[in-house]
C-alpha cells in the first residue's frame, strides 16, 4: 500500500545524464593508472639548421612529452610553444609557467639571486632559495604556495640531451612548502657555466614535477 506522498518535481533533467553518469562511474572506478611518458623523437639537425632555441618537456603525471621552440621573449623570459599549444615559459633555467601540461602553473616569483635564473656554477649556489608558485583557484586571485629549497651538489657526469652529450654537475634541491609539504628538484648544470641542460622542477601540487631538457639554448644575440 502506498503510504505518504510520492515525490513530484524531483526528477533530474536527464538529457545526456546517463552518459555523464557512466563517465563519472568510469572515472571513479578506473582511476588513471601510472602513466608512461611518451617521449617524442627530436631531430636535432633540423633544429640546428633552423637555428631555433628548443626544449623537450616531459610531464610524467600525464605521460606527455613535447618539443617546444622559442616563440617569444617577454620580460626576459622565453616562451616555448609545442604542438597543441602546450607551452612552457623559462626564466633562465627556472620553469616560470606551463600551459596544457596539467594543472597550469601561472607564474613563479623568486629572489634576485636565484641560481636557476642567473647562471650560477654548482658550488656557488646560495644555501637557501625561496620561491612562490602561483596557481589558479576560485576568483581572480591566484593561490600562492611558497617553498624554501636547500641544495646539495651531487656527482659530475655526462648526460645525453637529444643526441648531444653534455658534461654536467647534478644539483638536488630539497624543498619544503609553508604547509609542510616536501618535494625535490633535480638539476643538471653545465660543468663550466652553470647553465641548465636538464632540470626536473616541481610546478604545483597536482602537476608535480616536469622535466625540461634544453635541446638548443636560447641565444639573445643569435
Amino acid at each position: 500500500m502506498i503510504k505518504g506522498v510520492v515525490c513530484a518535481g524531483l526528477i533530474a533533467s536527464l538529457s545526456g545524464c546517463i552518459g555523464t553518469l557512466g563517465q563519472m562511474r568510469d572515472a571513479i572506478l578506473n582511476p588513471n593508472p601510472e602513466v608512461e611518458v611518451r617521449v617524442p623523437g627530436v631531430n636535432r639537425a633540423a633544429i640546428e639548421e633552423a637555428d631555433l632555441a628548443a626544449v623537450l618537456v616531459l610531464s610524467p603525471t600525464i605521460g606527455l612529452g613535447s618539443v617546444g621552440v622559442a616563440i617569444q621573449m617577454r620580460d626576459g623570459r622565453i616562451i616555448y610553444n609545442a604542438n597543441d599549444n602546450r607551452g612552457i615559459t623559462l626564466e633562465g633555467g627556472l620553469v616560470y609557467a606551463t600551459l596544457g601540461l596539467g594543472t597550469n602553473l601561472q607564474a613563479v616569483t623568486t629572489q634576485s639571486d636565484d641560481p636557476l635564473v642567473r647562471e650560477t656554477r654548482a658550488g656557488a649556489w646560495p644555501a637557501e632559495v625561496t620561491r612562490t608558485y602561483y596557481i589558479a583557484q576560485r576568483g581572480t586571485e591566484f593561490a600562492q604556495i611558497t617553498a624554501t629549497c636547500r641544495n646539495q651538489v651531487g656527482r659530475s657526469l655526462a648526460i645525453e640531451v637529444a643526441e648531444a652529450t653534455r658534461q654536467v654537475v647534478e644539483v638536488v634541491e630539497i624543498c619544503t612548502t609553508q604547509a609542510g609539504e616536501n618535494f625535490n628538484n633535480v638539476h643538471y648544470l653545465d660543468a663550466g657555466t652553470g647553465r641548465i641542460w636538464r632540470t626536473s622542477q616541481w610546478t604545483g601540487p597536482v602537476q608535480t614535477n616536469i622535466q625540461v631538457d634544453v635541446i638548443e639554448q636560447f641565444d639573445p644575440d643569435a
Partner: protein, 658 residues
C-alpha cells in the same frame, strides 16, 4: 503502520556508483563516529552523500562543509518500529567553536533536526582531540543523543521552537575513531548513555572500508541488537577528480607592440578566417563577428568548457595575435541559446599588461567590464543562420524512494523526450514516461484535487504524458528578459505562464516575476483536465553574495493552493560547474515543520579530462506538500541565465589565461 501525513517525498537520481549498499544511522549529514557525533574532520567544501540502513531505520543524508569550522547537513530518515513508521526531514548544523591545540582539545556544538519536530532532533556539545591516527571525542547530548525516542521537540503548530535546545534529559557519549592506515580501513568504537531495548547503555563498534577513492562502506553493530550498513560517497567540488588543463593549451598571447602598427594590417575577413581556424581547434565556436573602428565584437561559445572566463581568455589570446594594431577593444558576447546575455568588454592594453604577471588574472579582471547586449546590432561578417531542428532521446532515471515503501526501494523510469526548435527563442517539447520498476498502488482521487498530495491517484503501470508545451523567450529591453509558455507543464498541471526578469550584467542580483494560470490534469488519460484550476503569482530575487560563489534565491507570492508562501534557496556555485543548494518553503497555511530540499550538480569535466558541459544532477526533497508549491516545467528564465552572472564569471576568472 502509517506514515506521518507530512512525510516528505523523497527521491534521488542514482548513478550506478551509488546503487549498492546501505547503512547505519547517520546524524543529519554531520561528522559522526557511529551514532554519536564527532568534530568536523574535513576541509572547506567537503561534500558527502550517505545512505544509512538498518532493520528499523533508513536515511539519505547530504552534508557540506562550507568552511573549515562549519558543517551543514540535510537528512531524510525513515523510522520503523512498533508504533508505526514515520519520515523526517532534518536540517542540521555543526560548528567548531575552538580549534584543537597541541595540548588543548577542540570544542564543537551541533544541532540536528533544527525546526523539526521529528524524533531525530537533538543537540550536542563535544570536546575532541587527535592523537596521530586516532581521534577521540567526549561530550554531552540532548534529544536523540539522550533518549531512544525523544518527543515534543522542534516545532509547535508550525512555529519553530528553540526553547527545547540543550534542555531536558541529557546523556554523555564518547567515541574513538582510528585510521588503521591499512587498506583504507577505519575502525570506530563508542559509548552513549542511551537506554535501549537490551541494555541501559549503548556500546557500538564499526569498521569502514574505502572501496574506491571517495566511496566507503561501513558495517556496525551495537549491544542493543542492532546492526547496520552505511554507504558513503565523499568528494570535494573544489578539488577535481580529473587533472585540469591537460588538453590543448591556449593560443600564445601576442602583445600589441608599437612595431606591429608599422606592419601591413589584416582585413576583417582575414582576421575572421584566422580566428575561426584557430578557435575551432580549441572547440570554440564563433557565431558572430564584427570589426568596426577600434573594436572587434564576437559571439563565442564552447561545447566543452563550462568556464566561460576561459573561453573568453582563449578568444582574447587569438585576437591578440590576429587583430590589427589599431584595435583597442575586444567585445565577447555570451549567448545562452535564447539570449545574448552579456557582453564581456576587454581592454587590449590592459591584457597586454596582465599577461604573464603573477597577478595576471586580477589584472585581466581590472581590464574587463560588462554590458548588456544591445537588442539590435550592426550586421556582422558572419551571423548565426539558425535552422529549425528536431532533437529527441530516451533516458532512464533511477531513484531511491523512501516513501512508497518501508524499505529503501529503487524505482526506475524511462523517459522519451523530443523537442522541435523553431528558432533560438522558440521551441515545442514533449516528454513521455513509464515507471518500469516498482510501481505505486493507485489510490482513489480525493474529493477535491490537491496540488501535490494526490499524486498517487494518477494511474500507475501506464505510459503517461509527462509534458507537452511550447515556450517562447524574448527580450523587451536590453536588461529585461521575458518568456511565455503554454501547454501541459508537468503531470499534474497544464495552462499558460508568463515571466519577466530584470538583470543588469554589472549587478550581482536579478529580479523575476512569474504569473501562471493552470488547470489540474486528469488522473486518467493524457489530455484531460479535472474541474480545478489555480493561478500563481510569484516574485523572485536572485542574488550572488560574497566571494565564494554563494547565492540566495528568495521567492514569494501566491502559490498553487492559493496560499501565500515564501521560498528560500541558498547554495554555492563552483568555478568548475559544481552547484550545491538547499531550499525550504514557508506557507501561511502550513502547520507542519519546515521541509528542506537539496540539489547537487556535478559537472562532467570534474570527473573526466575530456571535459564537456554536461552534468549529473541530483535532486532530493523539494516540493511535495500541497502548500508552498508552484508549477514546474514552465521554464524559469533564471535557470538559463544564471551561468551568465558576473559573479559566476568572476569566480572562473582565474582560468582566463588557461
Amino acid at each position: 503502520m502509517s506514515h506521518k501525513p507530512h512525510g516528505i517525498a523523497l527521491s534521488l537520481v542514482l548513478s550506478s556508483l551509488l546503487a549498492a549498499g546501505a547503512a547505519a544511522e547517520g546524524i543529519g549529514g554531520l561528522s559522526q563516529a557511529i551514532d554519536t557525533p564527532r568534530a568536523p574532520s574535513g576541509v572547506a567544501d567537503d561534500f558527502v552523500i550517505l545512505f544509512d540502513f538498518r532493520e528499523d531505520y533508513r536515511a539519505l543524508s547530504l552534508g557540506l562543509q562550507p568552511s573549515d569550522w562549519l558543517e551543514i547537513g540535510i537528512s531524510f530518515p525513515t523510522y520503523d518500529d512498533d508504533a508505526g513508521s514515520s519520515s523526517g526531514n532534518e536540517l542540521s548544523f555543526g560548528v567548531r567553536l575552538l580549534e584543537e591545540g597541541t595540548y588543548t582539545p577542540g570544542l564543537t556544538v551541533g544541532i540536528v533536526g533544527f525546526g523539526s519536530d521529528d524524533r531525530g532532533s537533538g543537540e550536542y556539545v563535544l570536546a575532541s582531540k587527535t592523537f596521530g591516527t586516532l581521534s577521540a571525542s567526549v561530550g554531552m547530548g540532548w534529544g536523540r543523543y539522550a533518549l531512544a525516542v525523544p518527543e515534543d521537540r522542534g516545532t509547535d503548530d508550525g512555529v519553530i521552537r528553540t526553547d527545547h535546545l540543550f534542555e531536558g534529559d541529557a546523556a554523555p557519549f564518547a567515541n574513538i575513531v582510528w585510521d588503521t592506515g591499512v587498506a583504507g580501513l577505519v575502525a570506530a568504537a563508542e559509548y552513549s548513555g542511551i537506554e535501549g531495548a537490551e541494555a541501559d547503555e549503548t556500546f557500538a563498534a564499526s569498521l569502514s572500508y574505502e572501496v574506491l577513492d571517495g566511496l566507503t562502506v561501513t558495517g556496525l553493530v551495537n549491544n542493543q541488537g542492532n546492526a547496520g550498513l552505511r554507504l558513503q560517497f565523499a568528494a570535494n567540488p573544489a578539488q577535481s577528480l580529473a587533472q585540469e588543463n591537460m588538453g590543448r593549451g591556449p593560443h600564445p598571447y601576442v602583445p600589441n607592440t608599437p612595431a606591429r602598427a608599422s606592419q601591413p594590417q589584416p582585413t576583417a575577413a582575414q582576421v575572421l578566417a584566422l580566428l575561426n581556424e584557430r578557435a575551432e581547434k580549441e572547440d570554440i565556436r564563433i557565431s558572430r563577428f564584427v570589426m568596426e573602428g577600434d573594436t572587434i565584437d564576437v559571439t563565442a561559445s564552447s561545447d566543452k568548457d563550462v568556464v566561460f572566463a576561459r573561453t573568453v581568455g582563449r578568444v582574447a589570446r587569438i585576437l591578440s595575435a590576429v587583430a590589427p594594431a589599431n584595435i583597442t577593444t575586444f567585445r565577447v558576447t555570451q549567448n545562452t541559446g535564447a539570449f545574448d546575455s552579456n557582453v564581456v568588454v576587454l581592454d587590449r592594453a590592459g591584457l597586454d599588461r596582465a599577461v604573464g604577471a603573477p597577478n595576471a588574472a586580477e589584472l585581466a579582471w581590472d581590464a574587463t567590464s560588462f554590458e548588456a547586449s544591445p537588442r539590435n546590432r550592426p550586421e556582422g561578417l558572419i551571423a548565426d543562420r539558425f535552422e529549425p531542428r528536431l532533437t529527441y532521446g530516451i533516458a532512464p532515471s533511477f531513484r531511491a524512494d523512501f516513501i512508497t515503501s518501508d524499505t529503501l526501494e529503487l524505482t526506475g523510469t524511462l523517459n522519451a523526450n523530443a523537442r522541435y526548435t523553431f528558432s533560438p527563442q522558440t521551441f515545442a517539447a514533449a516528454s513521455v514516461g513509464y515507471r518500469f520498476l516498482n510501481q505505486w498502488t493507485q489510490e482513489d482521487p480525493p474529493a477535491e484535487p490537491q496540488p501535490r498530495s494526490d499524486f498517487t491517484s494518477y494511474a500507475p503501470d501506464i505510459v503517461y504524458l509527462q509534458s507537452l508545451s511550447v515556450r517562447h523567450r524574448f527580450r523587451i529591453a536590453p536588461e529585461l528578459y521575458s518568456r511565455v509558455s503554454a501547454g501541459l507543464f508537468e503531470r499534474a498541471y497544464g495552462g499558460v505562464s508568463g515571466e519577466v526578469l530584470w538583470r543588469d550584467p554589472e549587478q550581482n542580483f536579478a529580479l523575476g516575476l512569474e504569473a501562471t494560470y493552470v488547470q489540474k490534469r486528469a488522473y486518467e488519460g493524457w489530455f484531460g483536465f479535472e474541474d480545478a484550476d489555480a493561478s500563481t503569482l510569484i516574485g523572485s530575487i536572485y542574488a550572488n553574495v560574497g566571494t565564494n560563489g554563494n547565492f540566495v534565491i528568495l521567492d514569494a507570492g501566491q502559490h498553487l493552493a492559493d496560499d501565500f508562501a515564501v521560498g528560500l534557496t541558498i547554495g554555492r556555485n563552483y568555478r568548475n560547474g559544481w552547484r550545491i543548494a538547499a531550499s525550504t518553503t514557508w506557507s501561511e497555511e502550513e502547520t507542519a515543520p519546515l521541509k528542506f530540499g537539496a540539489e547537487v550538480s556535478i559537472p562532467l569535466s570534474w570527473t573526466s579530462v575530456e571535459g564537456g558541459v554536461g552534468a549529473t544532477n541530483l535532486f532530493v526533497g523539494g516540493q511535495s506538500g500541497d502548500f508552498g508549491s508552484r508549477v514546474s516545467g514552465t521554464g524559469l528564465l533564471y535557470d538559463e541565465l544564471r551561468a551568465s552572472d558576473k559573479r559566476r564569471i568572476e569566480d572562473g576568472f582565474g582560468e582566463f589565461w588557461n
